[in-house]
């Protein structure tokens, strides 16, 4: 993405770098904020993560050779920064999810008690109760599973891209994703969503 011009005077080089950073920030801040919000679950931590990500990107801009897509590079920086920040804050602990725990044991556990019949997902998600239930389920996930689910199912990346970002092979990504989905499904099935509110345009706020 960047062209190194040999013998560029330091001032001009600094200006060039600042221009590159401005472009990077302008083009990707919304993408990284969306990712950060989905990982953190609330605005202030998400903004901290965005700042940390772009600060690291600013410092790493010289070393970025454009071998990866810019978005993949930034997702990777954000993911690592998120892990570091969480360690400092001693957030949600990591633990393993086993498939066996997701085998339903009673009749009521097979389905979601969510009124979605005849509704598009966008319409169903107009329900504040459903949005909250979904967000809480995702937030309850152990962080490494949440990251896989957010990158794959919410950011829409391929398993290969998620693997590159998380430093995992595709098989490991798919295994984490599968457990994460089963976890969220189980959390949702344990809650009955009855309310069907906010059914008006523009009601889709967090």
């Amino acid at each position: 993405m960047r062209t190194t011009a040999p013998k560029t005077p330091p001032q001009r080089q600094a200006k060039q770098e600042s221009g590159e950073f401005d472009r990077l920030y302008r083009d990707y801040v919304d993408l990284i904020y969306r990712y950060a919000y989905r990982l953190c679950g609330e605005a202030e931590s998400a903004k901290d993560l965005v700042q940390e990500t772009f600060l690291n990107a600013y410092q790493g801009l010289k070393g970025f050779r454009g071998e990866a897509q810019v978005s993949t590079w930034l997702y990777t920086i954000a993911s690592r920064a998120c892990i570091r920040m969480r360690r400092k804050r001693k957030g949600q602990p990591e633990y393993e999810l086993s498939l066996e725990e997701f085998v339903p044991t009673s009749e009521g556990e097979f389905r979601l008690q969510i009124p979605m019949d005849g509704l598009s997902p966008e319409e169903a998600l107009q329900s504040k109760e459903l949005r909250e239930a979904l967000d809480q389920a995702i937030e309850k996930l152990p962080p490494k599973y949440r990251m896989a689910l957010v990158l794959r199912d919410m950011e829409g990346l391929s398993a290969k891209e998620v693997g590159a970002i998380m430093g995992l092979n595709e098989r490991a990504v798919k295994s984490r994703l599968h457990r994460a989905r089963l976890f969220v499904r189980r959390e949702l099935s344990a809650r009955g969503i009855t309310q069907h509110d906010d059914h008006k345009p523009g009601g889709m706020r967090p």
Binding site: Y37, A43, Q51, F54, F102, V103, E107, P121, L130, L182
Partner: protein, 101 residues
């Protein structure tokens, strides 16, 4: 007319070796593959086997529908956006911090 020899099903030879009769083992085996099934990553013979099982096992059919709904909801969950003030303030804070280091 010659009859084809039929061999007894081998134990643990994969999903196609099971016959369905409220076979809990088969349901658990299916559970392992549901995301790959939803994401269309399985070979066609295994998909066919799964579809056969779903036709015979209402609980699994409901379960897979609920997992598909979960994935759909995740895919469509909107995320909040930054205000232009937020964008500007964060940019300033990043550059201040970068220059201070």
């Amino acid at each position: 007319m010659t009859k084809k020899k039929t061999s007894a099903p081998k134990k643990g030879a994969g999903p196609s070796s099971h016959s369905h009769a409220n076979d809990q083992g088969h349901c658990v085996n299916l559970l392992r593959q549901l995301s790959a099934y939803i994401d269309d990553e399985l070979p066609s013979d295994i998909c066919q086997e799964i579809r056969r099982h779903l036709g015979a096992c209402p609980n699994c059919e409901v379960f897979i529908a609920s997992l598909q709904q979960t994935v759909t909801l995740c895919r469509h969950r909107p995320a909040p956006q930054l205000t232009s003030d937020d964008r500007m303030n964060m940019r300033r804070a990043i550059l201040n911090e970068a220059n201070a280091r």
